[in-house]
């Protein structure tokens, strides 16, 4: 199939399958999946700038479907999502400026690669340690059957003592997040978490859901199911902003995104519905390979000089 905007010839079946797979990941883990979509689009000859912008447009559509499904399951905190979107957009702008500074200094690739490998490996190591520890300590006490609504809020983490200490910081203004079961938390902490996620998104590319989703669980104390759903809602806003800025720079082939999204729409629903059958620590443990795949791609690029 010929896509006139980018001038690329790509099989629509390939795009639908890629969209479907990324949709499952996105619906289940609350991530954009750009670390797979980018290389998958590059592999069929799409220019790098189009791969980045088009992927963002596809992420918007996939997140709408998954977030809608999560909302029906009671897994979206709208208030938290809106606040986080503000922090993410601010962080993404600063991250993009940082990249420009490093470009001028002439060492952007090496710095970004080393930072991203360190971040990916740290997240995976921490999450494997925490989720395994939680699973062992909670053995026999994890909820069985479908997990939604009230059950989804009864999440447990071995890192909870640190989360509670963060929630006790009385930095004005404090806000309540009743949908997430958080009685009071400083607005600045939420904005900071979102800003850091956005910073990495602008700095490393993609939506940085692999940073934001764990941060929401461990720093803000949001139950895993709600973190997944809320992150997806937040991605709709921040990825829409990213899509628009890339579109006016000529980096978006919306026709490719629309075709990919036909697969992602089904995948995202399967992913979102599947979260009902897994307890929070199990979702967090299953999340571990995602940042590792990201690290493997960066290491491959660093060693071969060939950008995936």
């Amino acid at each position: 199939m010929f896509f006139p905007i980018s001038g690329a010839h790509i099989s629509p079946i390939y795009l639908v399958i890629v969209g479907f797979l990324i949709g499952i990941l996105g619906g289940f883990f609350g991530v954009g999946g750009s670390f797979i979509a980018g290389p998958a689009l590059r592999a069929v000859g799409l220019d790098w700038n189009f791969a980045v912008g088009t992927d963002l447009a596809h992420i918007v559509g996939k997140s709408v479907v998954a977030a809608k499904r999560h909302r029906a399951l009671g897994n979206v905190d709208l208030r938290l999502g809106l606040i986080m979107a503000l922090g993410t957009i601010g962080g993404a702008e600063v991250g993009a400026q940082l990249i420009q500074m490093l470009k001028r200094a002439g060492n952007v690739n090496l710095v970004v690669s080393i930072v991203s490998i360190a971040v990916y490996l740290s997240i995976s190591t921490f999450m494997i340690w925490e989720s395994r520890k939680t699973l062992i300590s909670q053995k026999g006490r994890l909820p069985r059957g479908k997990i939604k609504g009230r059950k989804a809020k009864q999440d447990h983490s071995e890192f909870m003592h640190v989360t509670r200490a963060i929630q006790r910081l009385k930095i004005w203004p404090l806000i309540a997040l009743p949908a997430s079961g958080v009685k009071a938390i400083s607005l600045w902490i939420i904005l900071l978490v979102a800003f850091v996620g956005g910073l990495f998104s602008g700095f490393l590319g993609g939506g940085a859901g692999y940073i934001r989703m764990p941060s929401m669980v461990y720093v803000l104390g949001i139950p895993t199911h709600l973190a997944v759903g809320t992150d997806l809602f937040e991605i709709i806003i921040s990825a829409s902003y990213g899509t628009f800025t890339h579109a006016i720079k000529g980096n978006v082939d919306i026709l490719i995104a629309l075709v990919m999204h036909t697969g992602a729409a089904i995948g995202a629903q399967i992913g979102a519905i599947s979260t009902q059958y897994f307890a929070g620590p199990k979702i967090r443990l299953a999340f571990v390979p995602l940042p590792l795949i990201g690290a493997a791609i960066v290491i491959y690029t660093l060693m071969t000089g060939h950008k995936l």
Partner: protein, 80 residues
């Protein structure tokens, strides 16, 4: 339990088949007609193209979500 799983799987496969037919029709009809117009928009009116791109992807997401939900409801309703 096993028959429930088989029922769900059957419903899902039927949904997938109907969905695939709809998607193929969508490719040939909608995208074919939109392609030229969107390309012109992308070349001459970038800001409008950005807005239209977001509206299209969100619109498609809402429609597809409703279509899949409806299909699933219809198929499950018949198989039960």
């Amino acid at each position: 339990m096993k028959s429930d799983t088989a029922k769900t799987l059957r419903a899902f496969l039927i949904e997938l088949a109907i969905y695939a037919l709809l998607v193929v029709g969508y490719f040939f009809l909608v995208l074919h007609f939109l392609g030229g117009w969107l390309q012109q928009l992308e070349v001459h009116h970038r800001n409008t193209y950005g807005g239209v791109a977001i509206l299209l992807i969100i619109g498609q997401a809402v429609v597809l979500e409703n279509v899949t939900t409806l299909l699933l409801r219809l198929i499950r309703g018949r198989s039960e």
